[in-house]
Amino acid sequence: MTTEERPGAAVREVIARRFILVDENGKIRAELSVRKDEPGLGLYDEKGKFRAALVVTNDGPSLGLFDENGKIRAGLAGTEDGPGLGLHDENGNPRALLAVTKDGPGLGLADENGKTRAALDVTNAGPRLGLTDPNGKVIWKAP
């Protein structure tokens, strides 16, 4: 498309409270807006399901990816406690977490009940690895 073919031509700046992107059927597929004083970009699938969001809340920025049932499956967040990546199962329960806190970086793996079963973290004392049973009892650790 040439500049001449563009009705109204390109403008330098468009300012609005809400930008909505619709598909050829008129369905909302993306929205850039401020809700409750929190700016965010939301993306929707062809069924109108909310599937992805990049938001800045009072707790910090975050990215969420949702499955077709509306369950969160992956979340990235940068909160006061530190940044983290969480991966969730089909029930929305967190099963894997990679995070950096004030104590240092760490990796945790959880069972279907949300109990952490394997954890690796690095503190000022050095790296440590621990495995626990479903009741939280340590079954192996190093050092």
Binding site: E13, V34, L41, V56, G60, L76, L98, V100, P105, V122
Partner: protein, 121 residues
Amino acid sequence: MTTEERKVITAREVIACRFILEDDNGRTRAELRVTKDRPLLVLLDENGTPRAALGVDKDGPRLTLLNENGNPRFRLGVLEDSPILLLHDENGKPLAMLGVFKGGPRLALLDENGKPLWTAP
């Protein structure tokens, strides 16, 4: 923005160099722009500090989440065809890295100087 200026514009296509999202107080809370040939979406907090950025630069696409001081805490990107995830401390120093490289996946936990404390494999 006055009440008279509040309206809904429906168009098949809106072409611009910069889209600015304002909140009810007229503060810029998001910008979609092209800077130095790089498309970029930036979300800002109530103080005007950039807190999230999604862009594409010459190295590839990148998502960055920043703290209230503007320091990066989280980076996800594709660098030279390798997806990389970086977690940073409050000063912006990377402390954890997860990536997939030509040799395979790699996880590393780092100290404040970027020295690997633990890596796998």
